[in-house]
Symmetry: C2
Subunit: 387 residues, 2 copies
């Protein structure tokens, strides 16, 4: 082992957004040196990173430079060109999660194929290349159906619900008219969406967080409640699913496994994110070990921490309101006056309507109270653009 | 009010040690801009501060510069020349806690005099200027007695126990032979040492944390256990004492009130620190709101947060071992493998025997378990100097 003192390993993060920022806040507690690569000079992680390479995410030379000045590389979002990561890995650089697992997860069709092959329940899916293919798929899956870009989508971007044959052409065009590979998925009329944050260490050990119950609005997460209101059996099954997913992909670090709970109380995997996830932000205040600390522990080869929930927790996103412009936080005092409210401001210079500008978490003695306080706080605090 | 968005207030911290670092980690969650003043280039807070003025703490021009680039000034240790702070305050700069309260607290004789005048119980004390004065005081207080420098002491430095008349001369010399003002205090054969962390906001509102029970070794804190094993009455009395102290000094931000529990179960104030305190580090993992977040809330004019204890907590300091030299963390993996253990590494470049290099906190279902795990972890992790 090169490092007796593991805190001397320099960590490089591709991306300096809020996830990178929250990762650094935990890494710094333990004394790590952290560099980031991000094209935005004043990105959220900039002011607390030891070094910031200002470069585009597809700048292979810059990613190589980050690797050269770091002992291990991780990333806060999954849409990175894997070629350079594979090259670097072949040269002996440590990339966590590995480039090979990232490559599969990046492509939703490949991701689902691997899951299905390993006996993990996913909605039925099929690759499509043309409107004719979509109509053919509809014979099997029936309308409505989900049309998805296999690569590059996030926060609902790259997804379209096709309600009827009339919408096939327009949805096909909306998703690029075949410029990126497409797939069709059976539409699942789910009862609940849940997600499990789970971590796997360098030697395969795993720790799983309790399921969170997610609500989305316009395809963007707006609330996570923990514990999820599901049966103990389903909770156990969901946690087992997460373990299987991490095994299958040989995950290293934090993964998020999003699942549907169907009307028949069955679990189907919706999506996998190979990184700390918005639906795991509650762990900062709610759990003994936050997902960000856990990620740092995992990739640094340290033992994983306790994932126990300290108190019922509710997280709500703070999305930009008003105009596009300089971000201003309004109503913070009112929100913080509510018991147990923690507000995280990401320090994005520019606010845009719907942009993730911050989040708040409330922990309380019971979930109902936490949810009530979180709702109230989210009605009071706002991050808006000033022109 | 100048700031509608209070997160836009720039915070300046005099001192960039571990307290400054932990303050910044909380300030950054809420999106504050933070500058520090510290003579050490690679001080603990350096890598996460927005700006670092490298200057001595007695460099009045540098403190003025920090004030000019900040909207409010705070400090992580109390031994600063108050003159410049008073000047700045008179010019309209915001200094929290205020220079006038700092001035009194800095001088232990003045501090105790104010406390006594306000009816808050302190050990008997008297000012002394010579060995003859000390001997005279001994007639009243009897040996052993405490000889203390009125200013500048910390971690037991500046204190001496005078066991008998034979030790008067040597103790007098040890504490500077009158070069700094001295006082004698009645020696209190205490049952326990406890401390209360408490916060007072800009408009006088207060929040008090549960009492922590402290153990010192060689005058340096080595363990804080929370809740303190004291009666409910004593807990209430201690919390009330803390409130009174903050009222008396018109404190702003976090204060630590250290108290003795006497054999007769009476409380006597030992010392007051006008800042986040080592004995309050447990609040990071143990309480809903950490002392550092609370301090930021208080000085920024935000509502104070909930001080409830989430789980019984035990904090242990990690003091430098081995030689003076480049700091190396040893045994971190073994310590982190114990459930609920969090290790904070301060990132001090040089370790010296006995220097505060980090701390660890364990939260658990009960105090006994937390204490057992903390003890075990502290036997495993070490920060030592490499030559």
């Amino acid at each position: 082992m090169k490092f007796n003192d593991k805190t001397r390993q320099k960590i490089g993060i591709i991306g300096g957004g809020q996830l990178g920022k929250m990762m650094i806040l935990e890494a710094k507690k333990m004394g790590f040196y952290v560099s980031i690569l991000d094209p935005t000079e004043a990105c959220p992680a900039d002011s607390i990173a030891d070094e910031h390479l200002i470069a585009d995410f597809d700048d292979q030379q810059a990613i190589r430079e980050l690797a050269q000045k770091s002992d291990l590389i991780t990333y806060e979002f999954e849409h990175i060109g894997v070629e350079v990561l594979k090259e670097l890995e072949a040269e002996g650089y440590k990339i966590y999660p590995t480039a090979s697992s990232l490559e599969i997860i990046q492509n939703k069709y490949e991701q689902k194929t691997v899951l299905k092959k390993n006996g993990i329940a996913v909605p039925d899916f099929i690759k499509v290349e043309s409107p004719a293919d979509i109509k053919e798929a509809a014979k099997k899956f029936t309308y409505p159906l989900m049309l998805k870009s296999c690569t590059g989508g996030y926060d609902g971007k790259g997804n379209a619900v096709v309600k009827s044959e009339e919408e096939v052409e327009s949805s096909f065009k909306e998703l690029g008219a075949g410029s990126t590979p497409l797939m069709v998925e059976k539409y699942i009329p789910f009862k609940k969406e849940i997600s499990i944050i789970a971590a796997r260490g360098l030697t395969g050990e795993m720790e799983v967080y309790p399921a969170g119950e997610n609500d989305h609005q316009d395809n963007i997460l707006y609330e996570t409640k923990v514990p999820a209101e599901i049966s103990a059996e389903l909770e156990e099954e969901a946690e087992e699913f997460a373990r299987e997913v991490l095994e299958v992909f040989e995950g290293i670090g934090i993964f998020c496994v999003e699942m549907f709970v169907t009307e028949a109380d069955e679990l189907l995997i919706n999506e996998i994110a190979p990184r700390p996830h918005n639906s795991g932000h509650y762990t900062i205040e709610g759990c003994v070990t936050s997902q960000f600390e856990q990620h740092v522990r995992a990739i640094a080869g340290l033992p994983l921490g306790d994932t126990a929930l300290l108190r019922p927790s509710v997280m709500r996103n703070i999305l930009g309101t008003g105009d596009q412009g300089k971000a201003e936080v309004v109503g913070l005092e009112q929100a913080l006056a509510i018991e147990g409210v923690k507000v995280h401001v990401y320090q994005k210079t520019i606010s845009r309507p719907g942009r993730k500008m911050g989040h708040l978490t409330v922990t309380a003695e019971n979930l109902e109270l936490a949810a009530k306080r979180a709702l109230k706080a989210s009605q009071l605090v706002e991050i808006k653009g000033e022109i």
